[in-house]
Subunit: 437 residues, 2 copies
């Protein structure tokens, strides 16, 4: 076996190793999100990392297909494989395969893979936390999805977050019916330019739209939409109600109901420039953002009533969302609501000297562990108790049980809080109680 | 977007979809294992699914390299990638990269990928639960590893499990010094044949060994080893003590200490035919098996004092184990200690009729969820309460809160246990207490 060079120790570009300190934080964040999904009646499922290429093909648009999907063959087979690109297409395949009782509320937290140029908050391997309601056309489902997003932002105590919402039917209505742009590809191109509004500003958006050779009056209209988007929800609704286009009226009606059903109405902001990248949305779409730090959206989703049909041949409406856990964690660390300061799950370490028989230490550790304590047991004795205290303090373990020859004879031990240096004489069975204070 | 044929709905061969029923069980099993790792002072880490091919190359032997590792290039790059084949080599890379404080006790539960022919208990994508102590040469570390395995089997209430142990130094000592076979490749070939003992029986093992052109007297010796392996630990130890080979004496001394330190001595069985497939072990090796069902080993591991050096250039001893969670779950389901009978995490569903305003239901759901209950809220009202009860019972939810117009007016609801059909009149705030009884 050859030796490995230093450089090669890094993981693949755009992927990450997580040391215990970070991983303990990540697990806590995932757990809290998961608990909220469960409180909302969602159950977990899992699908493979690897999918057949045919399953992903044609679902994510041209750029993904030609540049972003991890697709490959093995030396041993002619089959084409791909690593999952999101958790939504696997869900659609799953629903078609198992035909679960509808509505099917499931969550799925796991990694997805995109061959993007890595940058802040963007990785080639990253985690998503998805939750979807499959088989419900009711607008209450849309509202429940948004309530979950609200619950998550409240749980983590994010301040000044907003959930922007829009509806693909409004966009389509305005473009097709009012602006006479019926070419779907062209509408998508316009969408993608408008989507950059936050990043590049209004002037550049208008300039890029001009390049698409859109008639002057349409440009004015889009400009008007961008302006109106800054107004209050009520103003935007009144503006849209003037349109007298059936699709737009339906969307507005839905949005009103959503606003009535969400638990925090004032975090919802109608934004007519919100389009979302993915092709498959059909009605309500949303993105959650925080004002600080500037990091892009922390969650997004919407209604996709046509996607599952590709797999099932029958129409199955669906609505869902995805928490961008990577950005959520990055943002939370930056503003200080998350801290990667817990080095270990161990609650107590046993500090013992060389003269104590290791078998006795094994017995003590067993007893403490049987009380459900997380116990770090050093694998050999220390030269002195002081050496042990220094060593264990570095590991971030708060408490030590000090075991010398005398302690064993008397069956009374010293429990020390390594932060406050406080000491207590204890019997083993008293340790649990003292630690939970 | 094209429609997908029925056949294509299956996941990639050797990979699996997990529906909520199975996933809830799997999560429970993983959690229990994880809790035990934590009780033993182990902390979590994570590494990417994708590794550079160079990292895996040369670590797993010829067969893995030419037939089993998922290795590939993307259309967009000349780099060679591989999906992780186990969690041990990524650990070695991690230790070299981060130089964590030693001894480093970490656990890692995650998927690994092997392009094997799928069969019962063998998949192309499967989960491992690894725990390792890096940087401890003390035999107490070996004993702690075995104690964790014991704890896991006890936790799940497996009966008649055994942990077979052996030591590579015994095998090497006997082969090299006593049988004069010094060619390492040949020793490995012999190992692999002996490893099949349980599967193909002693006679076939002897026959295959004959093909390797091993001298007659060596064959007799191996035969003797296989015979002696059936004896009690004490008999085997006495037999080996007669060898007077330094490496064997050291191993025997270690095994004696291990037997002294493990929490259940009687489940440990010295087995001189145990060799383990992987090349990197250097001393103690083990495998845990159950007598029923016949499914191969449910856990395995050992000491590998030379592996990490490849990455770090300095010697770092290590010992660890891997729980074969797939087989553990399959075995547990077969003997009935696991049951995939929990369909949902939801503890209660709200059953309401069409005339109840949905907004009111949203409020009730919110209140119950704020009490930390997992609440399934149907997205529209039922035609009748009876319809609702039928529907919710099918979902495996045990309790229903029945909400009609009258209940809302009086602010008193009916809580029904859908299994026993018992009913209670309750206020919302009383529901938690009644459900936890």
């Amino acid at each position: 076996m050859e030796e490995v060079s230093k450089r090669d120790l890094n993981p693949v570009k755009g992927t990450r190793d997580f040391s215990p300190e970070i991983q303990i934080l990540r697990k806590k964040v995932f757990e809290k999100i998961e608990k909220i999904f469960q409180r909302y009646g969602f159950d977990p499922m899992e699908t493979p990392i690897i999918e057949k290429w045919e399953i992903l093909k044609g679902k994510y648009g041209e750029e993904a297909e030609n540049r972003l999907i991890w697709r490959f063959k093995l030396p041993y087979s002619e089959k084409e494989y791909a690593l999952r690109y999101d958790l939504t297409v696997p869900l659609a395949r799953f629903v078609a395969r198992f035909k679960p009782k509808l509505p099917f509320k499931r969550y799925h937290i796991g990694r997805v893979f995109r061959y993007e140029e890595p940058q802040k908050g963007r990785y080639r391997e990253f985690w998503q936390a998805d939750f979807d309601i499959v088989g419900a056309k009711e607008i209450s489902a849309d509202a429940e999805v948004l309530n979950i997003v609200i619950e998550i932002f409240e749980e983590f105590k994010f301040k000044e977050y907003k959930i922007k919402i829009n509806d693909r039917r409004i966009l389509r209505g305005i473009f097709e019916k009012s602006l006479q742009i019926k070419n779907f590809e062209k509408i998508l191109s316009i969408y993608r330019i408008i989507d950059k509004l936050d990043k590049i500003g209004k002037e550049k958006v208008i300039k890029e739209l001009e390049k698409l050779e859109i008639p002057k009056n349409s440009l004015n209209k889009i400009n008007e939409l961008l302006e109106i988007s800054k107004e209050k929800n009520e103003t935007i609704i009144s503006y849209l109600e003037n349109y007298q286009v059936e699709e737009i009226s339906k969307a507005i009606n839905d949005i009103k109901q959503i606003l009535d059903l969400v638990y925090k109405k004032d975090v919802i902001k109608i934004d007519l420039s919100l389009v979302r990248g993915l092709d498959y949305y059909t009605a309500m779409i949303f993105e959650a953002v925080v004002s600080k730090p500037k990091i892009g959206s922390l969650a997004g989703g919407g209604r996709y009533d046509e996607l599952i049909k590709i797999f099932t041949n029958t129409e199955i409406p669906a609505v869902g969302g995805s928490i961008g856990v990577e950005r959520l964690i990055d943002a939370g660390l930056e503003i200080g609501i998350f801290k990667a300061d817990k080095k270990t799950y161990s609650q107590i370490a046993i500090i013992y000297t060389l003269e104590v028989p290791i078998k006795k230490i094994f017995e003590i550790a067993k007893e403490l562990r049987d009380y459900n304590l997380n116990v770090y047991m050093p694998l050999k004795g220390f030269n002195s108790i002081l050496d042990g205290i220094k060593e264990i303090s570095k590991r971030g373990i708060k408490h030590a049980l000090i075991v010398g020859k005398k302690e064993i004879e008397e069956n009374i031990y010293t429990l020390q809080n390594l932060e406050t240096r406080e000491k207590f004489k204890v019997k083993l069975e008293e340790v649990v109680k003292l630690l939970s204070v």
